[in-house]
C-alpha cells in the first residue's frame, strides 16, 4: 500500500483519510500482535532457533567445552561416516528400529482407533490404550525389565520354563540378539498413545451422514468406507501422526537405555541419540555430537518433507 498523498480533488480527500487511518490502524494491530507474540518469539528464538543454528556451526568444529571451538571443516562428518564403527552400528540399529517400529506403531494406532471408534464404551477402551503412553517410559521399563528379566524370576522366563519351552532362562536384555526385539516390543506398546488419540479424535470428526451418502453411492464394505471416506478426510491427522511417528522413531533413546543399559552389550541397543548423548555429555566432544545431531535432523526433516508431500491436502 502506498502512503504518498497525491490530492487531486477535495472529493478524494475523505477516502484517502480513511485509508490512512486504516493503515495506521493496521500498523497498530500489527504492533499489538508482535507484542502478544513476543514472549513466545523470544523464548522460541533463544531456546530453539539459536540452538539449532549453533548446533549446525559446532558440527564443523572441535569443541570440548574447555577450549574455544576450533574450525575443522568437514572432518567431523568424515570421521562419523568413515571411521566411527559404533556410529554405524547405532545408525543400523536406529534404522532397523525406525523401519519396523515407526510404520507398525503408526498403522496399529490407526487400526486401534478405527476399531475402538465402532465399539461401545469408547472411553474405557481409549483409556486402556492411552494409559501406557501417559505413564513414564522409565517407570514402566522397570515393569518391563521384570517381564524380560534374565533370571528365572523374570515373568517371561518363568512362564517359558514352566511350559517347558526353554530349559534355561534367556538373558533377554543382555543378549545382543534379543535386545533390539525387546526394545521394539516395549516401544511399540509405549508409543502408540499420541497417534492413537489424534486418530480417534479425527474419526469423531467424520460425520455419519457422509457414510450414509457413501452407501447410496455404492460403497458397500467397511474397508471401502475406510479407504474412500475416512482416510481422505483424516489427512491432517494422518500427517500429524506421521510426523510424530518419524520424530519418535528416530529419537528412540530412553527406553533403549532403560532396557539395555549404556553402553549396551556389544552396542546392540545403541541408537543415534544414545551415541549423541555419549559424545555430548560423557566425552564432552560437542562438535562431534553436533554433527550427529545435524545428520539426524537432516534425516527427520527429509522424511518429514516426503510425508508432508504425500499426505498434504491439495490447497497447500
Amino acid at each position: 500500500m502506498q502512503s504518498s498523498v497525491e490530492v487531486k480533488g477535495p472529493l478524494q480527500l475523505a477516502p484517502q483519510k480513511a485509508r490512512r487511518f486504516k493503515l495506521t490502524h493496521a500498523r497498530k494491530r500489527a504492533a499489538l500482535g508482535y507484542l502478544f507474540l513476543s514472549p513466545f518469539l523470544i523464548l522460541f528464538i533463544v531456546f530453539t532457533v539459536i540452538p539449532v543454528v549453533q548446533s549446525v556451526y559446532l558440527s564443523f568444529t572441535y569443541y570440548n567445552m574447555l577450549q574455544p571451538a576450533r574450525w575443522v571443516g568437514l572432518s567431523n562428518y568424515s570421521v562419523l561416516f568413515l571411521e566411527d564403527d559404533i556410529f554405524l552400528t547405532s545408525l543400523k540399529n536406529t534404522f532397523i528400529f525406525a523401519v519396523i517400529a515407526g510404520p507398525l506403531s503408526y498403522c496399529l494406532s490407526f487400526l486401534l482407533a478405527w476399531v475402538i471408534n465402532t465399539l461401545k464404551a469408547k472411553m474405557i477402551f481409549s483409556l486402556a490404550f492411552y494409559v501406557p503412553s501417559i505413564t513414564s517410559g522409565i517407570a514402566l521399563s522397570i515393569v518391563w525389565l521384570y517381564i524380560f528379566s534374565g533370571d528365572r524370576y523374570g515373568l517371561l522366563n518363568n512362564a517359558l520354563l514352566n511350559w517347558g519351552m526353554i530349559s534355561e532362562p534367556i538373558l533377554w536384555n543382555t543378549d545382543p540378539n534379543t535386545i533390539m526385539p525387546v526394545i521394539i516390543i516395549v516401544s511399540l506398546w509405549m508409543s502408540m498413545g499420541t497417534g492413537f488419540l489424534v486418530f480417534l479424535a479425527g474419526l469423531q470428526n467424520v460425520s455419519p451422514e457422509l457414510y450414509e451418502a457413501g452407501a447410496i453411492d455404492g460403497i458397500s464394505s467397511r474397508f471401502q468406507e475406510l479407504w474412500f471416506i475416512t482416510l481422505p478426510l483424516m489427512k491432517p491427522q494422518l500427517l500429524f501422526g506421521a510426523v510424530n511417528a518419524i520424530v519418535g522413531a528416530f529419537g528412540v533413546f530412553d527406553i533403549a537405555v532403560a532396557i539395555s543399559g549404556m553402553p549396551s552389550p556389544n552396542y546392540a541397543g545403541h541408537t543415534i541419540i544414545a551415541h549423541l548423548f555419549d559424545y555430548a555429555f560423557i566425552r564432552f566432544e560437542l562438535g562431534y555430537a553436533s554433527a550427529i545431531a545435524v545428520f539426524l535432523f537432516v534425516v527427520t526433516f527429509g522424511l518429514g518433507r516426503i510425508v508432508m508431500r504425500l499426505l498434504s491436502s491439495k490447497d497447500q
Binding site: 530453539t48 559446532l58 501417559i134 505413564t135 510426523v243 532403560a258
Partner: protein
C-alpha cells in the same frame, strides 16, 4: 436374514473379546505395578512371583521414605521438584503459546506465515537434537542447577502453539468483531472470548504439557548436576541403579506407582475434552 444377523453379531462378539483381551494385555504391566507397590516383603521375593497382591500393605511406601533418608535429599524433594517444574511449565506455556497462537491466527501481522513455517519445521526436530546448544545457552545465562533451567526452555513449544493455532482458526472472526464493537480491548477479547470458547483446546494443551514434563528426565539429567535438583523420573532411575538390580524392590515399586499416578489422574479428568479437541490438531485442516 437372521443368519447374516447372527454372523454379524458373532463377529462383533469376537471383536469385543479380542479387544478386551488386548486391553488385558496392555494393562498388564500397570496392574502388576499397582499390585507390586502394595506387596509385603515376602511376596516381593516370592518364587514363582505372584501377579496379584495377597496381603496388601503400605510398607513399601514407608520403605521409600526411609530408604531415601540415607541419601542426601529426601524423596519428597524429588516429588516437589517434579510437581513445581511441571505446573510452572504448563501454566506459562499455556499463556505464552495461546497468546502467540492468537496472533498467528487472528492478527496475522506481516511475517506471520514465515514464523508459522519455522514453527512447523521445529516440530520435526527431535527435541534431543537441540539439547546441546540449549545447554550452552542455559549455562551461559548462568541457569544450570536452577529451576529456570528446567522451566524456561520448555515454555515456547512448537507443538503447543501449533495445536492452539489450529483451534483458534476455527473461531469465526465475526465473534471477535462483535466483541470489538462492544468496545472490548484485544487483551480482554483474548481472555474473555478466545480462551472461553476454546476451553477444550487449552485443556488438551494442559494434559499433553503436564504429562510430557512430568515424565521428562532428559532436562533434569542434562541441566542439573546437584542431587537436590533431580526430578522424580531421574531419581527413580537412580534408585533402580540400572537393569537387573533387585535391591530396594519395594521402595522402587512404590516410587514407580507414585510416579504414574498424577498423569493418570490428569488424563481421567480431561479425557472427554481431549476427544473433542484433537480433531483440529492435524496440519492444514
Amino acid at each position: 436374514m437372521s443368519f447374516t444377523k447372527f454372523i454379524t453379531r458373532f463377529n462383533r462378539g469376537l471383536l469385543y473379546a479380542f479387544m478386551i483381551a488386548l486391553v488385558g494385555f496392555t494393562s498388564l504391566p500397570i496392574v502388576y505395578m499397582i499390585s507390586t507397590a502394595f506387596k509385603p516383603l515376602d511376596e516381593l521375593f516370592l518364587y514363582p512371583p505372584r501377579f496379584f497382591v495377597q496381603k496388601p500393605t503400605l510398607r513399601s511406601f514407608f520403605d521409600l521414605l526411609t530408604a531415601t533418608d540415607s541419601s542426601v535429599v529426601p524423596f519428597s524433594r524429588y516429588i516437589f521438584n517434579s510437581l513445581f517444574v511441571s505446573v510452572a511449565v504448563v501454566l506459562s506455556s499455556l499463556v505464552v503459546c495461546c497468546l502467540g497462537a492468537y496472533v498467528l491466527s487472528k492478527f496475522k501481522p506481516p511475517g506471520a506465515g514465515f514464523i508459522f513455517s519455522v514453527i512447523l519445521s521445529a516440530l520435526m526436530f527431535s527435541p534431543q537434537v537441540t539439547q546441546i546448544p540449549t545447554y550452552m545457552i542455559v549455562s551461559s545465562l548462568g541457569l544450570v542447577n536452577t529451576y529456570w533451567a528446567l522451566i524456561l526452555p520448555k515454555i515456547a513449544v512448537a507443538f503447543n502453539i501449533f495445536l492452539m493455532k489450529q483451534f483458534f482458526d476455527q473461531i469465526p472472526d465475526a465473534l471477535i468483531e462483535a466483541a470489538h464493537i462492544d468496545g472490548a480491548s484485544d487483551w480482554k477479547i483474548f481472555w474473555r472470548v478466545i480462551m472461553a470458547v476454546s476451553k477444550p483446546a487449552w485443556a488438551t494443551l494442559i494434559i499433553f504439557s503436564f504429562i510430557g514434563n512430568w515424565n521428562d528426565f532428559f532436562s533434569a539429567l542434562v541441566f542439573t548436576t546437584s542431587e537436590s535438583m533431580k526430578t522424580l523420573p531421574l531419581a527413580i532411575q537412580t534408585l533402580a541403579g540400572g537393569p537387573g538390580v533387585v535391591a530396594r524392590t519395594g521402595a522402587l515399586a512404590a516410587g514407580t506407582f507414585l510416579m504414574t499416578l498424577p498423569p493418570i489422574l490428569i488424563f481421567l479428568l480431561f479425557q472427554k475434552l481431549i476427544m473433542n479437541t484433537m480433531v483440529h490438531s492435524g496440519i492444514k485442516s
